[in-house]
């Protein structure tokens, strides 16, 4: 086929009804609705939320999960556009492990060593490992579907960040249910659940985001 003919043919194709940016934003909002819906329907907010909301370690969980979700969303968005680097969102995301490490160090400093293990094991580790990915699957699917409208130069990497974002959104909701507020617990189990989603995102990206 002659290139000129190809161009004529392509020019006849109507423009996409909406761009990638709109698709990604919509997928993000839907992700929050989906994860929130499952959260309210299946597990719900913990009964002592009033008291918990006054404790620093409860609030810290959101200081960790929300920047994680936001930063990973930002990086996934930018990596889905050809010719763009991750930019400042990397810093938001990079702050999360630093915050987490600081909180863990403070806790280890304040709590006697004999209690470390019970803090780490907590009361709900199994739930955490199951429920966070369960709430994150829908958001991951939505984000990957939206990113198919984009064109990530490195599909697995972009998918991985979508996975972290989905995990971060799910973890933010889960944190309202979870009775374990210890940073040690959060650093171990939340991270594990979110990293599982990151790996799932990588695989999904490799499979679905190539172009």
């Amino acid at each position: 086929m002659r290139t000129e003919d190809l161009i004529d043919r392509l020019a006849l194709d109507p423009p996409p009804r909406f761009g990638f940016g709109t698709a990604f934003l919509t997928a993000t909002l839907l992700s929050i609705l989906v994860a929130g819906g499952i959260f309210l329907a299946v597990i719900g907010i913990r009964p002592d939320i009033g008291r918990a909301a006054e404790s620093a370690s409860f609030l810290f969980k959101f200081v960790a999960t929300m920047p994680l979700a936001l930063g990973a969303l930002g990086v996934a968005l930018r990596l889905s556009r050809p010719g763009m680097a991750a930019g400042g969102w990397r810093l938001v995301l990079g702050a999360v492990p630093v915050l987490l490490a600081t909180a863990v160090a403070l806790e280890l400093h304040q709590v006697p060593a004999s209690l470390w293990q019970s803090r780490l094991v907590g009361s709900n580790a199994g739930f955490c490992l199951i429920l966070i990915p369960l709430m994150a699957i829908g958001p991951l699917a939505l984000l990957i579907a939206a990113m198919r409208r984009g064109a990530p130069e490195r599909p697995a990497l972009a998918g991985g960040f979508a996975g972290l974002a989905a995990g971060g959104i799910a973890a933010t909701f889960y944190a309202m249910h979870c009775p374990d507020d210890s940073p040690l617990f959060v650093a171990a189990w939340y991270s594990a659940a979110i990293l599982v989603m990151g790996v799932a995102g990588c695989l999904a990206g490799r499979r679905f985001l190539r172009w």
């Binding site: 194709d13 109507p14 990638f20």
Partner: protein, 185 residues
């Protein structure tokens, strides 16, 4: 990379195209093609690939730009966006031909003056891919591309609405891109 004024012009055309102006879109594709060709050719030469592959790569890049045009953020310069797509497609094409390679971005950006090539010689793999489309899609693609019929004429011939023809054409193009993708894995 490219001249700023040139990129500005491309960006303006693409903005109009995304707003539904198909003449501007055609103009945009025609404007960038010589630049894509120059990039693809210099890359093929460097890597010892035959010149005949240049036009295949140009067409694959055009198709990718077409299918991914929604991924350009219209508030940003269009040059890096085009450059990244070209780089990606050149790597794909060379990988498919069994050579592993890295294309440094500087090399791709280092575009030569545009050269116009006498068209009409190159055959894209797409012609053989056509056979794998659904019958009706094939008919529509052939009617519009080879016989040069308009959407309306095609619609009349197949007793379809113009909208349905557009949709079928769009899907057919998507499937073709999918085939290119599968082939490259």
């Amino acid at each position: 990379m490219w001249d700023q004024g040139l990129e500005q012009e491309w960006a303006d055309l693409m903005r109009m195209a995304l707003a539904g102006d198909s003449a501007a879109y055609r103009q945009f594709l025609l404007c960038i093609t010589p630049h894509l060709r120059a990039m693809a050719r210099s890359r093929c030469r460097t890597l010892g690939a035959p010149d005949s592959e240049t036009e295949d790569i140009v067409q694959e890049v055009l198709l990718a730009i077409h299918l991914k045009r929604g991924s350009w953020d219209s508030s940003r310069p269009i040059g890096p966006w085009i450059g990244a797509i070209v780089r990606n497609k050149i790597i794909d094409a060379l990988r498919r031909r069994g050579r592993r390679t890295n294309v440094p971005i500087e090399d791709v950006m280092d575009t030569l003056a545009a050269e116009e090539q006498a068209g009409g010689l190159a055959q894209l793999d797409i012609d053989s891919h056509l056979a794998t489309l659904k019958r009706r899609q094939q008919d529509i693609v052939r009617s519009i591309s080879i016989d040069g019929d308009s959407i309306r004429e095609t619609a009349n011939r197949f007793k379809m609405t113009e909208g349905a023809v557009r949709v079928a054409l769009h899907r057919a193009l998507k499937s073709l891109a999918q085939l290119c993708r599968i082939q490259s894995t």
